[in-house]
Amino acid sequence: MMGIDPVANAASQGIITNIMVLVAALLTLGIFSFLYKDNPLYKFSEYLLVGVTAGYALIIDFFNSIKPNLIEPLWSYRVIVPTFLGDMTLPRFLVDFHPIDILYIIPGILGLMIMLRLFNKTSKWSRWPIAFYIGMFAGLNIPASIQAQLLEQVRGSILAQGAGGSSVPIFTYQGIAEIFTRPNWDFILFNLNGVLMFVGTMCVLSYFFFSMEHKGWLGGTSRIGIYYLMLGFGASFGYTVMARVSILLGRVQFMIFDARYHFMALFGMQ
């Protein structure tokens, strides 16, 4: 690391990289120009992004999903067949069908069936592959949600993690009573937190119970639930501001440092 000049480092990456970094910088400025007002440079960048993203998504899906799971297994079992046109290499299942081939052909057929969605008359046949996909992930979701998001969260409303992985109640009657006998601020907060967490969770759940009108006791608890929700959304907003600014900082750092060094390297500046 000692003695490495960032401009020399940028120059060593090659002229193609220098140019591409500047292209990236121009496109970045093009998108940022929207902050002033909509303009042709922004529109160009936006439409370019749409096209590149769509094309890239298909390339990734082809190489990560279709090629290794469908094409390669079927092609790996290939045979040379003499025909009147000469010797041809064909997937084995076209010539000599084995039961194992079904495991590869069926998803291929389902994949082609989903393409039928593009035509009004045949779109109803695309329901078969959609049914497989939706059914599979519905089934995958049920045990995972029950375990991680339902049972554990209900448990967490009553029990907290204690020392050495043990479980302790989130609040106890003795703890609450000691608030009055030993009024220490930290101790009060520690014991009250459990009560507040439990009450908050119950009240938020009562807010989302729409089978009864929110009147009387249910109206009261749902109002408390709304207050908890507002604090939660406020916290989320604070975090969201931080997240968005972080992405902006990434771009600013790219422009101030990377783009500048590559520009200097391309034009031989120091």
Binding site: M20, V23, A24, L27, T28, F32, K43, Y47, L49, V50, G51, V52, A54, G55, Y56, L58, I59, F63, S65, I66, I106, P107, G111, K124, R127, W128, A131, F132, G135, M136, G139, N141, I142, P143, S145, Q149, L150, Q153, V154, G156, S157, N193, L196, M197, F198, G200, V204, F208, G225, Y227, M230, L231, F233, A235, G238, Y239, V241, V245, I247, L248
Partner: protein, 207 residues
């Protein structure tokens, strides 16, 4: 055929996935891997539908010379160029499509997201009003958490990071837990309804 068979497929796929979760045998793991392969293949073809729809829309804009049709040409050229370089040279490190990703797609995508930073500040100024007690609480929570999350907050009021952390640990946690339990119950019931064929909106159409 086009309504009954999909319901049977959804039922069989869902039930086998639920049962598979509880069977620790090697056969069960292999079965899961197969199901995954099938889902990935279907998903791959589904991506193609999206791409074809995008091409159709932009092509018709060019043919009809609708507004901004010139930019639709940019989209079409971008799609076909990306597909060409991707299929011809592959997607390995150092390939042209990787270059395109690193220096065209990623910078623009990240910059699009970063515009939100400006708009979130602008929206806060123009619309974030303490009109009701609930809105005031939301505002107060946001301000305390924003103060508490940055180093400068401690210099304004020493206890603010602790107070912000309390908001995150207690009321925020309770509200998110309530939402999570509600969403979990909803998603479990919706998944069961799909598997059992009670929920059929995903079939679409009337035939």
């Amino acid at each position: 055929m086009t309504r009954t068979v999909p319901l049977v497929i959804a039922f069989l796929a869902g039930i086998t996935m639920i049962i598979q979760f509880f069977i620790p045998h090697q056969f069960s793991v292999d079965f899961l891997a197969w199901m995954n392969r099938w889902a990935l293949i279907i998903l791959g073809f589904a991506t193609l539908i999206g791409l074809i729809s995008l091409i159709k829309i932009n092509w018709s804009k060019v043919m009809k010379k609708s507004s901004n049709w010139g930019f639709s040409i940019v989209t079409l050229i971008a799609i076909f160029t990306t597909l060409f370089i991707g299929f011809v040279w592959g997607k390995e490190d150092g390939s042209p499509i990787q270059f395109e990703y690193d220096y065209v797609m990623m910078p623009m995508q990240a910059t699009m997201f970063s515009l939100l930073a400006f708009y979130i500040v602008s929206a806060s100024f123009r619309t974030f009003r303490a009109r009701t007690p609930e809105a005031t609480l939301l505002l107060a929570g946001a301000i305390v958490v924003m103060f508490g999350m940055v180093p400068i907050g401690k210099y304004i009021w020493g206890d603010i990071p602790g107070f912000a952390q309390w908001i995150l640990d207690v009321p925020n946690m309770a509200s998110k837990r309530g939402i999570m339990i509600g969403v979990a119950l909803g998603s479990i019931s919706m998944s069961l309804k799909i598997i059992l064929g009670i929920e059929r909106n995903w079939l679409g159409g009337s035939d």
